[in-house]
Amino acid sequence: MSDPTTRTIAVEYLARVEGEGAMKVVVRDGVVEDVEFRIFEPPRYFEAFLRGRMYSEAPDITARICGICPVAYQMSSVHAMEQAFGVEVGGQLRALRRLLYCGEWIESHVLHVYLLHAPDFLGYESAIHMAQDHREIVEQALRLKKIGNQVMTLLGGREIHPINVKVGGFYKAPTRADLDSLVEDLQWALDASRDMVRITAGLSFPEIEQPFEFVSLRHPDEYPFNEGRIVSSAGLDIANTEWNDWFLEEHVARSNALHSRIRSRGSYHVGPLARFALNRDLLHPEAVAAANEVGLPAVVTNPFRSIIVRSVETVHAVAEALDIIDRYEQPAAPAVPVTPIAGVGHGATEAPRGLLYHRYEIGGDGRILDAQIVPPTAQNQLTIEQDLREVLERNIEMADEPLQWRLEQTIRNYDPCISCATHFLRLEIDRG
């Protein structure tokens, strides 16, 4: 029990993160003793479930890991399979995969920026409360998000758990007219996403700069979605096949999810801030213009400012979607032929919330012998704890209620997709 000088805050679950998890901070005599951001993952359920299934089932099975970023799971799985089988997917099929990813980024980023994260900065308990005073922002968010959903529905076959993606391409490729039907809405979305950048850049941010090691894909010619080497701000530059040589997943007693770290170094940061820092030169000119207009620096190390970077990436996704549609010619076949061979394949793509790594070992009959899936939120887990500790130390005198809010906001900076990895998020501040 608490003594009279002790304050304890317990929150049953933390709203506005995608899924559920838990957090506990322990403060003794005004000093931060421990910070735990816990994820209760149904342990490796999907990795076990995949064993014995055919390679061709991986995109549909892994898409079910997350209702928010199914495309990311599909993309990492198909790229891994194609690497194992020596299959190249190029031309318009490759462009369509990028377009599908644009849809997911728009949908996911808009949901997070406007409906989950903006209420923190504007002082509202939720988007519902925010809607009463900022109706136009919420209506804009719903329309933008819907446009992202439309792209996903058109290419994915349906909005939730898309089913049109296969190893080698798609089951069905859209016609030119199908894609043209998206153009008017995307043109509106380009203006609306520029507004997002202006609006988010006008928010007030807590002062904090963190010494992150940023990790993301880096492709020679493109802002990263599907392909590229894995690079970091500390000089890492590896092929996706080298993932397990450089990164380590380890069990931590308090959490079902595996914690990731760079071997011999420690925590790292994946997601919009990392992609932006490592690939700003490859952003679409529309996104560069939007970033420059609000004076965004080349590297952003204040995690609270991720809301601006997420908005800049939304501009990128909308602008690139329009470019892809403009250049689209329906391919002769919706997929390239695939013949499974025994081997190992790796896939790393950029989910909205960061790098998503898959590794599969396939038997000669095309069955999956082993699967490894490393979601972005698990990779950010240690970094989130470090941010929580820093924010807590800077605000230790703050009253419980605003402190709790600030800590929740700190977790939301990462747009954590805990449903990829967990259940309830309980927040507990122990000042005993």
């Binding site: 009463q132 909005e159 259940h423």
Partner: protein
């Protein structure tokens, strides 16, 4: 005027979270002429679009309130906010309860809106349906038909 709609919400891979979809299956099997049935995840954009221009909507979802699993409750959400302790369980970003209240804040509720919640037991990934919730599917379908009869 457009037909009433029943929105079934859930995830078939998460145990009792499937109940909203199972109630839709049950209503489809019973046959309801003049009523549209739609499955989804509770996303606000989807829900607001689904009931736009319709006189009546019924939302069916799993719920976590601490009641016994399989308990079925029906709210008239047209004029009263959903009780905050009745958290419709969603493993997605914004669940059905948030979507309903967001629609209310935006003035985009249908004229008549009913929410039928079925208390969930386990919503763990890969778990099976609880027997009590399996039994409740028919009761929730009855409750939906009752409100639709007056629509």
């Amino acid at each position: 005027m457009a037909d009433p709609v029943v929105l079934g919400i859930g995830n078939r891979d998460r145990g009792d979270d499937a109940v909203g979809l199972l109630v839709l299956d049950e209503l489809a099997a019973r046959g309801l002429p003049g009523v549209d049935l739609m499955a989804g995840d509770g996303d606000p954009g989807w829900m607001l679009d689904a009931w736009e221009g319709r006189p009546c909507a019924v939302v069916v979802d799993a719920m976590v309130t601490g009641a016994a699993p399989g308990t079925v409750v029906s709210f008239d959400a047209s004029s009263t906010a959903l009780p905050s302790d009745a958290r419709l369980s969603s493993s997605h970003a914004l669940g059905a309860a948030t979507s309903v209240e967001l629609a209310r804040a935006l003035g985009r509720l249908p004229k008549r809106l009913f929410v039928i919640g079925v208390e969930a037991g386990s919503v763990a990934l890969g778990s099976s349906l609880s027997p009590a919730v399996a039994t409740a599917v028919g009761l929730a379908a009855d409750a939906a038909m009752e409100v639709l009869a007056d629509a």
